[in-house]
Amino acid sequence: MDAQTIRSLVAIFLAAILTENYVLNKFLGICPFLGVSKKLDTAFGMSCAVTVVMVIATAVTWPIYMYILAPQGLEYLQTLVFILVIAALVQLLETVLRKYMPPLYNSLGIYLPLITTNCAVLGVTMLVLEKGAADPSFGYLQSLVNAFGSGVGFLVAMLLFAGVRERLEDCDIPETFRGLPITLVAASLVAVSFLGFNGVVDRLAA
C-alpha cells in the first residue's frame, strides 16, 4: 500500500467523523441520538454496537451490490435487500455475542435489536455506493474505512451530546424548555459547532 492510498484512507476516516458526521451533518440516526444519550455509559455502549454493525453491514452489502445487484441492473432493489441483510446480520451478531461474549451481550442487550432499523446504518451502506459511483478509486477498502469512520463519528456525536445533557440536568431551565425542547436546542447547537470542521479535511487530504 503506497503512501498516497494511506493518506486518502486517513482523509476518508477523518471526513467520516468530522465533516460528514451522520448524526450532526446528515441528520441520520437522530432517534438513538436523542433517545440513548442521557447517560455517558449507555451512549458509549450504543455507539460501539452501531460501529460494529456499520462495518459488518458495509462489508456484506458492498459485494452484494457490486457483484449481484449492479450486474443485473437491479440497483433499485438495494433498499429492500440491504434492510434484509442488515436485519439478518444484527440477529446473527446477537446470537454470536450471546454465546461467546455474555458480558458484552448483556451490556449491549437492548441496543442491538434497535440498530436493525437504524437509518444511520442503512445510510452508511447506501451513501457509500454513491461515493463509489462518483469516484472509481473509492473501492471496498475505502468503503470499510468510511463505515468505521462513520461509526466513530456516531460515537463522538453521542459522547459529546451525552456530556452536554448530563450538564443540562443540573441547569435551571425555564419550565417551557424542559425535556425535549432544550434537548433539541442543544442538539442543534452541537450540530452547528460541527459545521466549523467543513473544509478542514479537504485541506488535510490535499
Partner: protein, 263 residues
C-alpha cells in the same frame, strides 16, 4: 420474465439469511437454566419487585441459583411458595399471608385542617408544605399517593384517610414506599390487634390534633397478657408475632384507636 430475476435474488438472499440464522441459533444455543424457566412460569409475572429482585425473571434466576429463598413472592402467596419449593426440591414452604395496614384513623371527622391546601393533589407534595394540611403532623393527608401506587385496587380513601382491604392486598409494599408519612406497614393477616395511629406527639398535643390519636397512656400495655404491646415515644406498638388476638387491649383503649383484625 424481467420480474423473475429480482424475485429470485431477493428470495435467495432471504432464504440464505434465514438458513444461516437458523443454523446459528442451533449451533450457538445457550442452554437456559431449566429450573429458572420452570420457576418463572410459576411466578405471577407481575414484576412488582416485592421480593427485592428486578421482576419475576430476576427472582426466578436467583432462586434457581440458590441465592434466594422461595416464599418471598407476596403477590403469589402460599400457592406460589409451595410450587416453587416443589420445583427446587426443598419441600413445601410455609408462608403466612401478609397485607399492608394503615396506621392512622385521622379522617375528616377526627382531625381538623390547620390550613387550606390548594396545591398538587399528592401527599408527597402536600407533606413538603409545612407537613401537610392535617392538624396531626403524623397523620394521613388523604390525597391518595398510596391509592395511585396500588396496582391491585386494594386501597380506598374513606373520609380523608386511606383504608386497605386485606383480602385484596398482596403485600407488594408499593404503598408503604409511596406514603410520605410512613403510615403503612406490612403485617401478617391473622387475628390480632392493630394500633391505628402513628403519632409520637405527647398526649396533650395528640388530643388537640386528633379525636382518636394514641396518647401513650400505657393502658393497653398493662392489659395485654401476652406482652405483645409496648408503648414507645408515646405510641403503642403491637408485635404481631406475640399478639393472640384476645381483644382486651381494644376494650381498654380510652381512645378507641386499636382495632381487631380477623384471620
Amino acid at each position: 420474465m424481467e420480474i423473475v430475476t429480482p424475485i429470485m435474488i431477493v428470495g435467495v438472499i432471504g432464504l440464505l439469511a434465514g438458513v444461516v440464522l437458523a443454523v446459528a441459533s442451533i449451533v450457538m444455543a445457550v442452554p437456559k437454566d431449566e429450573k429458572a424457566e420452570a420457576l418463572e412460569a410459576v411466578l405471577p409475572g407481575a414484576n412488582c419487585g416485592a421480593c427485592g429482585y428486578s421482576g419475576c425473571p430476576g427472582y426466578a434466576a436467583a432462586m434457581a441459583k440458590g441465592e434466594a429463598a422461595p416464599g418471598l413472592c407476596s403477590p403469589g402467596g402460599a400457592d406460589v411458595a409451595a410450587k416453587c419449593g416443589e420445583i427446587l426440591g426443598s419441600g413445601a414452604v410455609e408462608m403466612e399471608r401478609r397485607a399492608a395496614f394503615v396506621h392512622c384513623m385521622g379522617s375528616a371527622d377526627n382531625t381538623t385542617e390547620k390550613m387550606e391546601y390548594d396545591g398538587l393533589e399528592s401527599c408527597t407534595a402536600a407533606s413538603l408544605l409545612n407537613g401537610g394540611a392535617s392538624s396531626c403532623r403524623f397523620g394521613c393527608l388523604g390525597l391518595g399517593d398510596c391509592l395511585a401506587a396500588c396496582g391491585y385496587g386494594a386501597i380506598a380513601l374513606c373520609n380523608g384517610v386511606a383504608v386497605i382491604d386485606p383480602d385484596k392486598c398482596v403485600a407488594c409494599g408499593k404503598c408503604t414506599a409511596a406514603c410520605p408519612k410512613g403510615l403503612i406497614h406490612l403485617a401478617p393477616v391473622k387475628a390480632m390487634a392493630v394500633v391505628r395511629c402513628s403519632s409520637c406527639d405527647k398526649g396533650k398535643a395528640t388530643m388537640q390534633a386528633c379525636k382518636v390519636g394514641c396518647i401513650g397512656c400505657m393502658k393497653c400495655q398493662k392489659t395485654c397478657e401476652a406482652g405483645a404491646i409496648t408503648v414507645k415515644n408515646g405510641l403503642a406498638v403491637v408485635d404481631p408475632a406475640k399478639c393472640t388476638g384476645c381483644g382486651k387491649c381494644a376494650e381498654a383503649c380510652p381512645r378507641h384507636v386499636i382495632t381487631m383484625e380477623r384471620a
